[in-house]
Amino acid sequence: MAWTPDQPIVSCKEVHKAFGAVEVLKGVSLDVAKGETICVIGPSGSGKSTLLRCINALVPINSGSITVEGQEVHDPKLDKLALRRKVGMVFQQYNLFPHKSALQNVMMAPVTVLKQDKAEVEQRAYRLLKKVRLEGKEQAYPGELSGGQQQRVAIARALAMNPDVMLFDEVTAALDPETVKEVLLTIRELAEEGMTCLLVTHEMGFAREIADMIYFTDRGVIVESGPPKDFFASAKDPRTKEFLSQIL
């Protein structure tokens, strides 16, 4: 029963999700091993963001099962807050707290949620901001930072909770090409350090380099999946081929 690191850290089985009458996820299954990086790609509206939101219980699912470290996410008895401590999430729109400085953004959750020692958290926050190459920007407010810098603060903020899994939802989609690189570099370093990462992305080149597995979704189902080499070279499904021909 107890989860061991050789089992999938995130496991989705036949996940169904509907918003009202609109079925967004129609039986999605995927497993992510610890330390693995997977990329989810697919056309707009295919349910990629919804899938990530289900994984950290931001939205409830209708049926199926999602487990994180062996714990059922949608068990009504589950402590959602405990789950979210293990799963960090970064959003397309950064969603930094505009009334707090970069440093405070990073420190807030560990101090108030995890009740960790403030001085210790502050040290960690400085270290994390340095890690995402934002040394010297600790006191800046989100409004004073560029999109790419804000997104890196958001990454540091999620990391400050010491999560076991990181979810990235099109984190570079709102950025201009120059700053995309900085953010991707940060994510790559994380993945190389062994963080388990689930990425939704439109950056095919990046997905090809970084991912252990690629999943292609369309209209709520996973159409095709495989390691990037095979996936990009020999996609079989016509929908995948069409999508790839449009994007590459």
């Binding site: 939101r53 950290n56 931001l58 807050l81 405990a82 979210r84 401590r85 799963v87 960090g88 999430m89 959003f91 729109q93 969603n95 930094l96 707290f97 505009p98 009334h99 807030m108 959750a109 108030t112 949620v113 409004g143 958001a154 903020r157 999620a158 909770m161």
Partner: protein, 295 residues
């Protein structure tokens, strides 16, 4: 061939040259829609008109009254302590009603966004009722429904009329504050909720540490606007016999028994309210501008 519904575009108008006022009015409309409340319209020219009115009416009253009568302005100066004492009472009532209304209204507003349906519905009904009821009617209700004293055990606490009037005036205030709070909370992008939920904050923490601090800026202008409106409404308390400025003005007029004083005295009352409310209105507009640039 798609037909579009007419809409207000904050960017500008089609006729910026022909209608210099249109642009200005449109911006005001946009601001009012965002705030969900009227923007104060006080202008220094209003004050100038009031002052001119006071002086002209004083002059006319002087000319009408026969020789040997005391000059009108001197009469006002002689009664100044009485009138200003009344005005002070208006301000005290406005402070207390605002404080009470803000305290209760904030909670009511938060109840309006509760996850529990009965709480949400109940607070919505209370808010709508007090927001849409005429202020004077609420005032009368409080005057006649509240007891003139409370007895707790052997202790009897008097409950004077002015306190009842304060509570009566705070009812519409709390309903408006409730709407201001609800509107401000709803205006915060949902991404803020999602991000803080994903960081394992609970709902209470999200509200108090992340959402409400961001709301303060948005709430301040409509809240100050509401205060200006309340201050002007405190004269309603004269109807139920509280010794505020209007009541005092009536007493002065009765004591002097000189019909020519009527307009000068009431002009003076207006002027006092203008002098008090004008800076608040200007400050509100300034705050609004500042926050608009930042947001």
């Amino acid at each position: 061939m798609s037909r579009r519904a007419p809409r207000l575009d904050p960017g500008g108008t089609d006729l910026p040259v022909l209608l210099p006022a249109a642009d200005h009015l449109q911006r005001r409309a946009v601001r009012e829609r965002e705030l969900g409340a009227a923007v104060p319209r006080l202008d220094w020219r209003h004050g100038a008109v009031l002052l001119a009115g006071l002086l002209v009416s004083a002059g006319l009253a002087q000319a009408q009254s026969g020789e040997g009568q005391e000059p009108v302005l001197e009469v006002i100066v002689r009664w100044l302590p009485v009138l200003l004492e009344g005005f002070l009472f208006n301000i005290v009532i406005s402070f207390l009603a605002m404080a009470f209304g803000t305290l209760v209204g904030t909670w009511l507003g938060l109840m309006q966004i509760s996850l529990l349906l009965p709480v949400r519905t109940g607070s919505w009904i209370v808010t709508q009722f007090f927001r849409n009821a005429p202020w004077l009617v609420l005032l009368f209700y409080c005057m006649f429904l509240l007891p003139f004293e409370f007895t707790i055990g052997s202790l009897t606490i008097p409950f004077p009329d002015w306190l009842k009037a304060t509570i009566g005036l705070s009812l519409p205030v709390l309903a408006n504050v409730s709407e201001i709070v609800r509107g401000a909370v709803n205006s915060i992008p949902s991404g803020q909720w999602e991000a803080s939920e994903s960081l394992a904050f609970n709902r209470r923490q999200i509200l108090w540490m992340i959402i409400l601090p961001q709301c303060v800026k948005r709430m301040l202008p409509p809240w100050m606007n509401l205060y200006a409106i309340l201050t002007m409404a405190t004269v309603l308390a004269s109807v139920v016999g509280v010794s505020e400025m209007m009541t005092q003005a009536g007493r002065v007029l009765a004591a002097e028994d000189r019909p020519g004083l009527l307009i000068p005295i009431y002009s003076f009352v207006l002027l006092c309210f203008f002098v008090y409310c004008y800076p608040i209105a200007r400050w509100t507009v300034a705050l609004e501008r500042r926050f608009q640039v930042k947001l």
